[in-house]
Symmetry: C2
Subunit: 277 residues, 2 copies
């Protein structure tokens, strides 16, 4: 999944309230018109930034918020990403009972979504990761399991210390076991917030053969120059994701050029960070 | 939300593979025909069991698995439940960053879904519960936050001991604080698996003023006679949910009568359990 010329993932989290004034701005005013505007904005940003990104991560919540028109928009964005040869990570954070997880996995990782990666919430236990991993492995996809999320409140539960380490560490160890048989980065990925710069090296060591997805670059405060410890000795094994700081680099009519410039800058900063370490 | 003559919630988790032979059985063969069959099965079971149930809990994964036709089916089932005067708990187990949680809350708790309850995964931290609770409170809805899920693997993370209690206990204490200002059962609910019969009394005490949703009655092995400790002194404060054991009480053409009989039996067993304690 990781293209060698970039370690940047474009998050496409459409927020109509940040659109230029010529676009509809409300989620609930006119869903069809909003969905059309969201599609246009996302597709333009996707195409403009495509030379600088390794993959695309749509946050499913923002499409669900537009109802069925929003989910149709999501389908079209995934189609466009495929046409551009860009892998897709659907940030849906699904997680449920084993038999229910099978249904979610069927929805998000099979059929027309074969080859897609999905973010997974492990709170219900390790048996609930299995159906997602099986579906990913059978469909040339991947999973990215939440280990340590980038929001400040992630400490409430994820940092709690137990006899076997923190909750995040326990999940990391389980993922590492799931990836034991892999020869390199494969279907098992982990989400580690880019904002936790002090912990990146620790999780990199806990998670050999596990591709790290690092959300939070840009608007959430993480800086590219701090992310080098998340990468392996070859400069691989991680991918940093930025959403608002690219898609809404400008709320004016110059948003396409602004997004392109922001993506290029972040791509370059990530390369520099890796060269200078 | 709790009707006095019943403490039973009907889970509607459509599994086409369990349909009678006259119905399409595959998720991925013909989505439109499958969605039509799922709608028919769910509406018939809903109507037949309505005298015996307090509310309806569709598991969103099974509708998502049918794609957009499945989500249209979910809308129609919610509409039918409203017509029958039955509150709806959407079992979507959503959970994400505060700003993303706002988008999910907008999708599932506002507009046409005002008055609905939603299940919430708290793994990302307590700040991520707030947007859901606000949306629920502003729209006459409710949230049911996962505290201890009914699957065996729930012990992997939820039972881990920390300096402040188990993960489940820490979440329960937070929910109890959120509900402090309530005069009776209000917008803050908790999910406690009905299968954990030894822990029901403990969580009932930890969660005063928090309505307990107890999934797992029937097919998952929980028995109505063991659930009395989840209820308060007035016999209120909890609701037990059964899905497969009602909806698929029969996989033959008698499924409607079988579902009605199963719901009546469970309703009666719950009443007996409360009277005999």
């Amino acid at each position: 999944m990781l293209e060698l010329n970039t370690r940047l993932c474009l998050g496409l989290d459409p927020r109509p309230e940040s659109h230029p004034s010529t676009h509809p701005k409300q989620f609930d005013f006119d869903p069809a018109a909003t969905a059309t505007a969201v599609l246009k904005h996302c597709l333009e940003v996707l195409e403009a930034t495509s030379p600088y990104i390794a993959c695309v991560k749509p946050q499913v919540a923002f499409y669900e918020a537009l109802g069925i028109p929003g989910l149709e928009v999501l389908d079209k964005i995934c189609h466009a990403a495929k046409e551009l040869g860009l892998p897709i990570i659907l940030d849906a954070k699904r997680g449920d009972f084993p038999s229910t997880a099978e249904a979610y996995a069927s929805a998000w990782l099979t059929g027309e979504r074969a080859g897609t990666a999905l973010t997974i919430n492990p709170f219900l236990g390790f048996e609930t990761i299995t159906p997602f991993l099986k579906a990913a492995q059978n469909n040339d996809g991947a999973i990215f399991v939440l280990v340590k999320t980038s929001n400040p409140g992630s400490s409430d539960l994820q940092d709690l210390q137990t006899a076997h380490g923190t909750i995040s560490e326990i999940i990391a160890k389980h993922l590492s076991e799931l990836a034991t048989s892999e020869t390199s980065y494969g279907a098992v990925g982990a989400v580690i917030g880019a904002t936790h710069t002090q912990e990146l090296e620790h999780f990199r060591k806990l998670l050999p053969k596990v591709l790290l997805l690092l959300p939070g670059l840009g608007a959430q405060g993480a800086k590219a120059r701090d992310l080098a410890p998340a990468f392996d000795a070859e400069g691989l094994g991680a991918i940093a994701s930025s959403s608002r700081a690219i898609q809404y680099a400008s709320s004016g009519s110059d948003y396409v050029n602004a997004a392109r410039a922001a993506a290029k800058t972040m791509r370059d900063q990530l390369e520099t960070a890796l060269q200078n370490r």
